[in-house]
């Protein structure tokens, strides 16, 4: 398990705070934004170790790259009462309706190194393609019951984190116009989830408790890629990134629960399956000054069907209605997800204004992976459009600095009356998560590249 106090201290020491979900430019909670406008499957940038390892053959010499994404997310959740809500005692504000609103920042650095030897390129990197953290507001009523203060979003997440940190090695090889590449990833996956919870899965404020899940695990995955350069000015690339863990993950740790009249602290496993990703891109060097790219990705979020907490070592056997079907009472808590596959498209252009200064523009459209039925405040998603502007400045012949700003506009979603979470049987039952979801994100990417 993670050593949380140390982690928290180190995290705060780098001056970052929190963000729920992705900042932009991917569906679900995919956060791959490292590389900025060079983060795509045909770029000449070390970050293609993730996006398409074959594109590493576009690099020469030794390249070191470090960059960071700093994002501010603005999120508001407006909830009305649902038919399945448990009515509070007369005169009590249960804090189950109203608005939870929060704005907070996030920082996600990434580092890469590449070494070209002849037609081969070796690469290494550490980065976070999936993840997000969240620390919800304390904007609920403060009354007779101790949980209401955490607001109407608390039944789906109060504070938490989901992250896959990739430690990756890659090799690419050029065969004339064709390049192939592969990467191997050691993935440190972890999930921390604090939510309001009753043992029967309702939002009965008179029995309100808390569950805290802290799990992590080491997983393997790989990436494969191809690039084809039919003309010196044109690069076509395609890649595949396998699922972290290559299938269903088993993250190990503990779950603590504090319920009315009792508490527990037990070893548990979280079972979940994260998606694999297909990417396709084209880069065209239109002139010595102008270049452009278009890239798309298809993320198979349909694999992310549930997040199931079971007794350590047990399996997650659920009936169609979400009830524990194990026969041994092994399933402790299950969050139905039932996400859908989603895609994203990005395009961008770069203009070399001078030998040292390059201006960059980009745009993106990201699909929505989360259906109305299971959309909740822990991992919200929506169709969004991003607009990017930035520059790269070559400070020294071997040193380039880059900075881009992206504003991401999410479509508002209103799922009032469409959530099915409260219709499940325990342990899959959760309070109705319907409501109006509004969010926007501002993303600043900064990077430094050394070409040795």
């Amino acid at each position: 398990m993670t050593r949380r106090p140390l982690l928290a201290a180190l995290s705060c020491a780098v001056g970052a705070s929190t963000l729920s979900l992705r900042p932009a430019c991917a569906s679900g909670y995919a956060t791959a934004r490292f590389g900025g406008e060079d983060g795509h499957p045909t770029a000449a940038h070390p970050s293609t170790l993730y996006y398409n390892p074959a594109a590493l053959t576009r690099l020469e010499g030794v390249r070191l790259s470090a960059d960071g994404v700093v994002a501010w997310r603005h999120f508001a959740y407006h909830r009305k009462s649902a038919d399945t809500d448990v009515a509070p005692p007369e005169g009590v504000d249960a804090g189950n309706t109203g608005t939870s609103a929060v704005t907070h920042p996030m920082a996600a650095p990434a580092v890469f190194a590449t070494w070209a030897v002849g037609d081969a390129v070796l690469a290494a990197g550490v980065f976070v393609p999936f993840g997000g953290t969240y620390d919800g507001p304390r904007d609920g009523p403060e009354g007779d019951f101790p949980g209401t203060l955490d607001g109407p979003a608390r039944w789906h997440l109060i504070s938490g984190e989901i992250a896959d940190v990739y430690y990756s090695l890659g090799l690419a090889w050029r065969f004339g116009a064709l390049s192939v590449g592969a990467s191997g990833n050691l993935v440190h996956g972890r999930v921390t989830d604090l939510r309001a919870r009753n043992i029967d899965g309702t939002n009965d404020v008179t029995a309100e408790g808390r569950s805290l899940l802290e799990v992590d695990g080491l997983l393997g995955s790989f990436g494969l890629g191809l690039t084809y350069t039919p003309h010196p000015t044109l690069v076509i690339g395609a890649s595949y990134q396998a699922r972290p863990g290559l299938g269903e993950q088993r993250l190990e740790g503990r779950m603590k629960g504090f319920y009315k009249g009792g508490r527990f602290d037990d070893p548990v496993d979280l079972l979940q399956t994260e998606p694999d990703v297909f990417r396709l891109g084209v880069h065209w060097q239109a002139s010595s000054a102008w270049s452009t790219y278009v890239a798309g990705e298809f993320v198979r979020w349909s694999a992310f069907s549930r997040q199931c907490v079971v007794r350590a070592g047990a399996s997650c056997d659920l009936a169609a209605d979400g009830a524990d079907h194990s026969g041994d009472g092994d399933v402790i808590q299950n969050v139905p997800r039932n996400w859908s596959d989603a895609g994203a498209v990005r395009l961008g252009a770069a203009f070399a204004a001078t030998d040292a200064l390059t201006l960059k523009l980009g745009a993106s459209v990201d699909g929505d992976a989360v259906p109305d039925a299971t959309l909740d405040t822990s991992l919200p998603d929506a169709l969004d459009v991003g607009v990017t502007a930035g520059l790269q400045y070559r400070l020294l012949p071997a040193v380039a600095l880059s900075a881009t700003y992206t504003s991401v506009f999410f479509l508002d979603r209103d799922t009032t009356g469409r959530s099915t979470l409260s219709q499940k049987a325990p342990p899959s039952r959760l309070p109705d998560s319907g409501g109006r979801y509004e969010h926007r994100a501002d993303v600043l990417h900064i990077g430094i590249d050394l070409n040795l």
Partner: protein, 222 residues
């Protein structure tokens, strides 16, 4: 190694988020409130009486268990009770069969048996064996639950020797529950046992001593 990786992960996805601290804050808020929903008071002062005779406690009962975290969702059992005097000690044996959560009458799952002594003043402590309440009888989480219960109660308050059948019509008291599956959770609760009189409808469950009527519930009750 995972600790080092966690540190790196923290640097890579930086966040001052500390869910454990907020969990502890909630627990502190609960503990600090005397009228908190988190620690419901279960006050029970068992009535003292003269120990009943074996025949007075024998019969079929509806056994209702109400746990603190889901008071309104009791787990129900059919209870067949026999009793005998052994060396002047009253030993009560109860065979409990879980009942379907949807109708409260249909037996589901395996029965278990417990034997416990009743003190001279009518009070008793019954340590039940570890039992599995099947999903069909569990209205709280809907899954199998493994529990060990300890009941503390009295056979006094509704003793009704003048009734046509004679004997005890209802028991009640408090309990502690050590749940071992799906999670290990110790909690408290209340229980009642309501006699089923042949030829009458199966009783509607009541949750605790406070809700027991002052007189026996039987239709024949004067």
């Amino acid at each position: 190694m995972k600790e080092r990786m966690a540190t790196i992960a923290g640097l890579l996805l930086s966040a001052c988020v500390d869910p454990a601290a907020r969990y502890d804050t909630f627990v502190s808020r609960c503990v600090a409130r005397e009228t908190s929903a988190c620690t419901p008071p279960i006050v029970y002062d068992p009535e003292i009486c003269t120990r009943p005779e074996p025949a007075e406690v024998e019969g079929v009962f509806l056994f209702t268990i109400s746990l603190a975290f889901a008071v309104e969702k009791p787990v129900l059992y059919r209870l067949e009770t026999t009793a005998e005097l052994v060396d002047d000690a009253l030993l009560v044996t109860q065979r409990a069969t879980p009942l379907d959560k949807t109708d409260g009458e249909t037996p589901v799952g395996d029965a278990f048996e417990v034997t416990f002594p009743v003190a001279e003043d009518g009070t008793f402590t019954a340590e039940l064996p570890e039992t599995v309440t099947p999903a069909a009888a569990n209205p709280i989480t809907g899954g199998d639950v493994t529990t060990r219960l300890v009941l503390t109660g009295s056979m006094c308050s509704t003793r009704r020797p003048e009734a046509p059948e004679g004997g005890v019509d209802a028991l009640c008291g408090t309990l502690t529950a050590d749940i071992s599956r799906p999670v290990r959770l110790s909690t408290t609760g209340t229980f009642t046992s309501q006699r089923h009189h042949p030829g009458t409808p199966w009783p509607s469950p009541i949750l605790d001593c406070a809700e027991l009527p002052p007189r026996p519930m039987s239709a024949e009750t004067p």
